[in-house]
């Protein structure tokens, strides 16, 4: 009897030792009980096709592999990515009325970094082998490290970059009259000159009405213009090391960025009318915009005039413009999925799902049908893509978007700034500072003209060196304030 007791003790001690020593191993193995499945709640911001694909994949998973392994995944859309971030922070801060933190959520690196600082983010590295990691595009994995080398805090699911879209239908008469060259769309300098020409041409269409020229171009996600532009011109604005940012705001570079957005904007060559530039293209106020590959999907197929009548348009897709004579750079963006730190079982189950979800074919279906780029090297293979594209009914526009998008990933240097403390706030400053200055200048211009000043004179007074210096001072100050 005593022998059997000591055997039992030994056995239990052995089990405990094994359990304790597990995390030291390269990979954590957890056994789940299919009869008591782990239920995982995901919050995301997908809508439209992306949500449909996601929901369908989820259903498949729950019915097949999930049921076998004991994992059930439920997903809820929480509106836009910003709504989602707000809700996450509310949940994390346990604000009154806030819901419980979900087990997984979609987030950009900034939000993930913020939540990681609060201790809500699980490191999935222990649940992955080195081989598994190596299958993913390295820069995507690096972005998910959140400053801790070797960690995996944001699991990449789909990525996007930016490109230029053009309403080719309305471009035609302009090109026919002026001989405008589409090759100029490759540089910011070219776009400014095209926009000027377009304004003048459209103004001339109605000689009886003065100053009614139209803008050619507009853009959203303005921070990308600033960050990529600055980097391309020689300075990384957010230079981050160990989660600490070093601000590099070069006056000459800023002036160049100013000259290629603010100045054409005040001149009416660039424009912004509705909430988004895509809205302006839909209503015929703009002809071209820079947007993300994922948003490009929603580029309209027709223009709706103010009275509701419509006419069809053709869309053309071009790579993101660069400053003349610089190395091409483009932004790498897209939210990944973050797992909330929890029990080993849940974290394991979440990783298990994410691995399944990013398997080559599923990842291609989920990403490219919504204008995203897959996250595994294998999935970015052109022939595999071609094959997949055939399998899904894909519009020629989407096909074109993916092609251009892939060409950008091949020919451009993709950039995303590393996450850092107050990154959100800093980004917000970069996003709005120059556009707001431009909007205000525009209002001022119209006021000056109403007071009798000529259009040229009004514009002249708003685009002086002093105007730039004033903006520049304000910009650097708010930026410094934001990261303090």
């Amino acid at each position: 009897m005593k022998k059997s007791i000591s055997l039992c003790v030994l056995l239990i001690a052995g089990i405990i030792l094994t359990l304790i020593s597990c995390p030291a191993m390269a990979q954590v193995k957890v056994r789940l009980n299919p009869k008591a499945p782990q239920t995982l709640m995901i919050w995301h911001y997908y809508n439209g096709i992306q949500q449909q694909v996601f929901d369908r994949l989820l259903l498949t998973f729950n019915e097949e592999l999930g049921a076998k392994e004991g994992i059930i995944v439920e997903a809820h859309s929480q509106g836009s990515i910003n709504d989602l971030a707000t809700k996450l922070l509310q949940a994390a801060n346990r604000e009154p009325g806030a819901e419980n933190m979900p087990d997984m959520f979609a987030a950009y690196a900034d939000t993930a970094f913020q939540l990681d600082q609060m201790g809500f983010v699980a490191d999935l590295a222990p649940y992955m082998t080195a081989d598994e990691r190596a299958e993913y595009v390295e820069s995507y994995m690096q972005e998910g490290e959140l400053g801790t080398h070797g960690a995996l805090k944001v699991f990449p699911t789909a990525k996007s970059t930016e490109l230029l879209l053009l309403n080719a239908t309305d471009w035609e008469p302009f090109a026919a009259d002026t001989g405008a060259d589409k090759a100029l769309l490759a540089t910011w300098e070219g776009i400014v000159s095209l926009s000027k020409a377009f304004y003048e041409w459209s103004d001339a269409q109605t000689p009886e009405v003065a100053d009614d020229g139209k803008a050619l171009f507009g853009r959203d996600a303005f921070a990308n213009y600033m960050l990529i532009g600055s980097l391309q011109l020689g300075k990384e604005m957010f230079q981050v090391s160990d989660g600490i940012v070093n601000l590099q705001v070069d006056e000459a570079i800023m002036r160049k960025l100013w000259d290629h957005y603010y100045v054409p904007f005040v001149n009416g060559w660039f424009g912004a009318y509705g909430r988004f530039r895509s809205d302006d293209v839909k209503t015929g106020r703009l002809l071209a915009l820079v947007g993300s590959t994922s948003g490009a999907l929603y580029f309209p197929t027709e223009v709706t005039r103010d009275d509701g009548t419509t006419y069809p348009i053709a869309c053309e897709v071009y790579p993101l413009p660069n400053f003349a004579g610089t190395e091409p750079y483009a932004v790498q963006q897209g939210a990944g999925l973050v797992v909330t730190s929890s029990t080993q079982e849940k974290e394991y189950a979440a990783t298990f799902f994410l691995k399944w979800f990013t398997e080559v074919h599923k990842n291609i279906e989920f990403s490219i049908r919504s204008g995203y780029l897959p996250v595994k090297y294998a999935a970015n293979d052109q022939t595999l893509l071609d094959q997949s594209i055939k399998d899904y009914t894909i519009t020629p526009l989407l096909r074109r978007i993916i092609d251009v998008g892939l060409s950008i990933t091949e020919n451009y240097r993709l950039y995303t700034n590393s996450a850092f403390q107050h990154g959100n706030a800093a980004r917000q400053v970069v996003e709005t500072s120059m556009t707001q200055a431009a909007m205000q200048a525009l209002a001022q211009r119209d006021m000056l003209m109403a007071q009798g000043l000529s259009r040229d004179a009004a514009i002249q007074s708003l685009t002086t060196d002093e105007a730039f210096a004033e903006w520049y001072a304000g910009f650097t100050a708010s930026l410094a304030e934001a990261v303090r």
């Binding site: 096709i49 449909q52 019915e63 839909k282 209503t283």
Partner: protein, 999 residues
């Protein structure tokens, strides 16, 4: 031999019935539970909990759908008013809506902000207005309207950045500043018209309103099933639409809200914290009274797991007696239970009231009845466990009870009858009792055979035994014996040693006899003693050896404590008397010439008072130590009482030799010092008296008395010396003996009177009061000092105190009655230190002389605080009855200031030693001055007594004393006289001069 009984093992007698009982228990309990339907009850309870859960969710949904989301009351009227006003301004009518796109654009614009507001209020994910008229000029299939979406109704962005426009003309979208939904279009189109179910949200209420009996928009409202407004890529929504009518009752459009399916799910999920349960909800609609349900939406994993995402009907299912539905899974075996609650969305007799919406709470059977099944399983496991337990008990009994019996029998069989029986303990009380009985029996058997029991080995008593038998060369020695006899070597194992060796060991000890049977163990260290008893037996000797060390030590200690003074360790009086008396009875050379010396420590009281009793005790010990100088031989040294010591030196040949011995010792003693707590060395001061045997007296008592007398004389005179008894002195001082009788007589007959000495005010020279001074008529007691000394010696101070109070107050009574003294004059009475009257006496006094107390000043001496309790009582007694307190002889004692504070006196009487020659002694003046300023601050009056010269008087008045007393101012007299007028004038003059000087 035991009586033959039917043989059976313990196992069969105990274990089998036990096993049977436990199995029957289990069967019984499970049977009762099953028959009573306990498990059914638990299951019913589980279903009830499912009902409650569903009920809660139903309440939430019912409230949200009917009172929040679809609450459009007032909208219809408000829009009508605005539209009418707008059309009136342009000369248009509702009929124009059909064809006038520009008008419609204006109407929509008019409604836009109200719609956004209502959407926010109703927490819906969308709101729309559709006019039953053209939206785009030239396109008759377009309908004008506005559709706005809010993906998250829980969060409201102040700048409306969370809103998307689904339908509106571009100018309105820019005006509202809202972003365009990816499905945005300028107008509504309804391809497929009425036949397309996705258009139901528009057409159903539009046409229902036409057919309905009621014109109330709410009565014609319509809840749609989930659908997609913008085709396959759009998310699923349900809508609630109400018709809009003009005053003629004609429908001109609809207004409605949208609830996104995701949002609906989140509402259903709200509060579902235990997300790991496999429960869920099914929201559906039936038009056939519950035969089938169309799915609206589902929440939770159950539905998805069991029925896929079937959009169609939830079937097949059976309805239970309890009203719950029981559904077989599409996969086969699994079963789900549902609790059905019907929502009330439509008022009765309205167009859509046949559409019944239900919420069904779902739970799969395994989870639902997990508890019931667990209970059932637990009972089964319990029964099984009981059976296993019984079997184990049987096994254990076999092992732990039967086996010890077997072992016991075996070891009994194997034991040697000539050796002490040793049986192992089994841990079973009964078996051990049996074994013990056997061992006991065996031991007595061995004892009877003349052998000593080995039981001594386990005994912890300090006893050792040995036995030497004539018929054996070996002697038995118990274990403890060797150690008891001071031997360290212990024979290994066997207790048998050669006879000779045993005797050697015993005899070695028995040589050191202390007293009868008591022997001291030779050896180093603390002495040990044993008692050895040897008994002759029939054919040998048995000896017991017992350690009696503590007994002997105790006896020594008790003797010591009886005979010695605890503090000093020298003999006490009793021991001294018995030893000395022995010497005096025996006489002879042992006594020889002897000296009795009485010694008294001189300053013990001072040390006690000043440094505390610990210091005093140390002083006494030091002295006792010093007394060793008288030698240890032929000397008895004892402490007689507190500070009195007695020494008897005897065995001397001549007086001269003895005297030299005494003087040598004396010299040594008085050179000794004692270190006080403050570090100073204090020389021993002692007074001594000596009486000789046989010259002075031939008995001890007489000698002690004479030595005492000699010592007392020293004490009275020089102190600090040793004097021999002198018969002449003794006869002279014999008054002390006769004085005792005189004192008794004085107290008995109250032979005292009081003389009065006046006390004058230092500012007016008038009589302030009189001090009563006790005088006696007895010849043998010439002065008060003698009386006090005698009374103190005889312990009669209490009587003097009583005399002072009663006789004193009586005197005062007579004096005041006869108006001999000044009216209001006070009377100063000297109370005896450390003595108080009894409560009875106090009562008598207050009864007889209450009126006099207010004129009484009781003088106490500083020494009185030795007994604070007495002093406090005395002071309280005086104060309670209106008397004052004065401190007498102030400045003679120690810590006078402390006394002043503690006693809290009204008057301080400066001691005569301060007053005498104060005019010539600046030091005295300074001290008096500081006392006066101290006293004045506390309202204490200062009285100077013993004033004998005019100069003293002058100085004292200058210093500022309040009262004066002394021969210069008036001698004590039995009949007090008026003070001299000249004296009064002198005082007044001195006083005014002193005041002038002060100014």
């Amino acid at each position: 031999m035991a009586r033959q009984k039917k043989q059976a093992s313990i196992v069969s007698r105990v274990v089998l019935p036990l096993l049977l009982t436990s199995v029957m228990h289990a069967v019984l309990i499970i049977g009762i539970l099953a028959v009573n339907g306990v498990f059914d009850d638990i299951k019913a309870n589980a279903l009830h909990m499912l009902d409650e859960r569903t009920q809660n969710k139903y309440q939430t949904l019912q409230t949200e759908m009917t009172l929040n989301w679809s609450y459009l009351a007032g909208m219809e009227q408000m829009l009508l008013n605005r539209f009418e006003k707008l059309m009136a301004a342009q000369g248009k009518t509702f009929a124009d809506i059909k064809t006038d796109a520009a008008l419609n654009a204006q109407l929509v614009r008019e409604a836009a902000n109200e719609l956004i507001l209502r959407m926010r209020e109703n927490d819906t994910t969308g709101i729309f207005l559709i006019l039953n008229g053209i939206g785009v000029i030239g396109k008759p299939d377009t309908y004008a309207g506005l559709y706005i979406r809010d993906t998250d109704p829980n969060a409201d962005a102040s700048d409306n950045s969370d809103l998307h426009i689904l339908r509106a003309l571009p100018p309105l979208t820019r005006e509202l500043g809202l972003s365009l939904d990816s499905f945005w279009q300028a107008c509504f189109t309804f391809p497929g018209s009425v036949s397309n179910p996705d258009n139901a949200y528009f057409y159903m209420p539009l046409y229902a309103a036409g057919s309905g009996k009621s014109t109330d928009g709410h009565h014609n409202g319509y809840w749609s099933l989930p659908f997609r407004i913008n085709g396959a890529d759009d998310s699923r929504v349900i809508t609630y639409t109400q018709p809009l009518r003009n005053r003629a009752g004609e429908v001109y459009g609809v207004i409605g809200v949208e609830i996104n399916e995701n949002y609906l799910i989140s509402v259903l999920n709200r509060g579902e914290f235990a997300r790991n349960t496999r429960g869920g909800y099914f929201l559906g609609m039936t038009t056939d009274g519950g035969l089938s349900y169309r799915r609206v939406t589902t929440v939770g994993t159950v539905y998805k797991q069991f029925f896929r995402a079937e959009d169609t009907l939830l079937a097949p299912f059976t309805v239970q007696e309890t009203g719950h539905i029981r559904i077989q899974s599409v996969r086969g075996r699994e079963v789900v239970y549902g609790s059905v609650m019907e929502l009330t969305l439509y008022p009765s007799n309205t167009p859509f009231s046949t559409q019944h919406w239900v919420l069904i709470g779902l739970e799969d059977e395994t989870t639902l009845f997990a508890f019931a099944n667990q209970v059932w399983r637990l009972f089964l496991i319990g029964a099984l466990f009981a059976a296993i337990l019984s079997a184990s008990i049987a096994w254990l009994i076999g092992r732990n009870i039967v086996r010890p019996f077997v072992r016991l029998a075996g070891s009994l069989r194997a034991s040697d009858p000539n050796h002490p029986l040793g049986l192992q303990q089994t841990g079973i009380t009964e078996v051990d009792a049996l074994a013990d009985a056997l061992v006991e029996w065996n031991h007595s058997a061995l004892e009877a055979a003349g052998r000593l029991s080995r039981v001594l080995r386990s005994a912890k008593l300090p006893v050792g035994v040995f036995e030497v038998r004539d018929d054996n060369d070996m002697a038995f020695c118990s274990d403890g014996l060797f150690r008891l006899l001071g031997r360290t070597e212990q024979p290994a194992g066997d207790n048998l040693i050669p006879k000779e060796q045993c005797w050697d060991m015993v005899n070695a000890v028995m040589q050191n006899k202390v007293e009868e049977s008591f022997f001291r163990i030779p050896g180093e260290g603390a002495p040990r003693f044993v008692r050895v008893e040897i008994m002759q037996e029939e054919n040998g000797v048995v000896g017991t050896v017992m350690d009696v060390t503590s007994e002997v030590e105790d006896r020594h200690r008790i003797e010591r404590e009886r005979d010695h003074d605890l503090l000093t360790g020298i003999l006490n009086r009793r021991a001294f008397d018995s030893s000395a008396e022995g010497l005096f009875i025996r006489r002879g050379a042992a006594l020889g010439v002897a000296a009795v010396i009485m010694l008294d420590l001189d300053n013990l009281k001072y040390l006690n008072d000043t440094y505390g009793h610990d210091c005093g005790d140390g002083y006494i010990r030091t002295f006792a130590e010093a007394l060793r100088l008288f030698g240890m031989e032929n000397a008895l040294v004892a402490r007689r009482s507190g500070d009195e010591f007695l020494v008897l030196l005897h065995g001397g040949k001549t007086k001269a030799e003895m005297r030299e011995r005494v003087q040598r010792a004396w010299k040594g003693i008085v050179e000794r010092t004692y270190q006080l707590p403050d570090g100073t060395l204090y020389q021993l001061r002692v007074s001594g008296g000596l009486a000789w045997f046989p010259d002075d007296a031939d008995n001890l008592n007489q000698l002690i008395q004479y030595a005492d007398f000699a010592m007392y004389k020293v004490k009275r005179n020089a102190k600090g010396t040793l004097e021999e008894f002198n018969f002449r002195d003794y006869s002279e001082d014999a008054f002390l003996i006769s004085g005792r009788d005189a004192l008794d007589r004085m107290i008995d007959k109250q032979l005292v009177r009081f003389a009065l000495q006046p006390i004058l005010s230092a500012s007016t020279g008038d009589v302030y009061g009189y001090e009563l001074l006790m005088r006696t008529n007895v010849r043998e007691l010439p002065d008060p000092t003698t009386v006090l000394r005698l009374a103190s010696a005889e312990g009669k101070l209490q009587h003097i105190e009583r005399l002072t109070w009663f006789k004193g107050l009586e005197t005062i009574r007579q004096l005041t009655q006869n108006q001999v003294t000044q009216p209001h004059a006070r009377f100063f009475l000297n109370s005896i230190a450390n003595h108080v009257l009894t409560e009875d006496e106090e009562a008598q006094l207050t009864k007889g002389y209450r009126a006099l107390f207010s004129r009484l000043v009781v003088e106490v001496t500083e020494g009185e605080r030795n007994n604070e309790a007495y002093t406090r009582r005395k002071l309280e007694f005086v104060r309670r009855h209106g008397g004052l307190i004065a401190i007498d002889d102030y400045g003679t004692g120690y810590n006078s200031e402390v006394a002043l504070i503690q006693i809290n006196a009204d008057i301080v009487k400066l001691d005569i030693s301060f007053v005498h020659g104060v005019d010539a002694d600046e030091d005295k003046q300074v001290r008096i001055q500081s006392l006066i300023s101290y006293a004045k601050d506390r309202g204490i009056a200062v009285l100077a007594e013993g004033v004998e010269t005019s100069e003293e008087l002058q100085t004292l008045i200058q210093l500022g004393v309040d009262y004066l007393q002394g021969y210069y101012l008036g001698a004590p007299q039995y009949q007090p006289m008026e003070p001299d007028d000249l004296l009064r004038q002198e005082i007044r003059r001195l006083k005014s001069r002193a005041e002038d000087a002060a100014q």
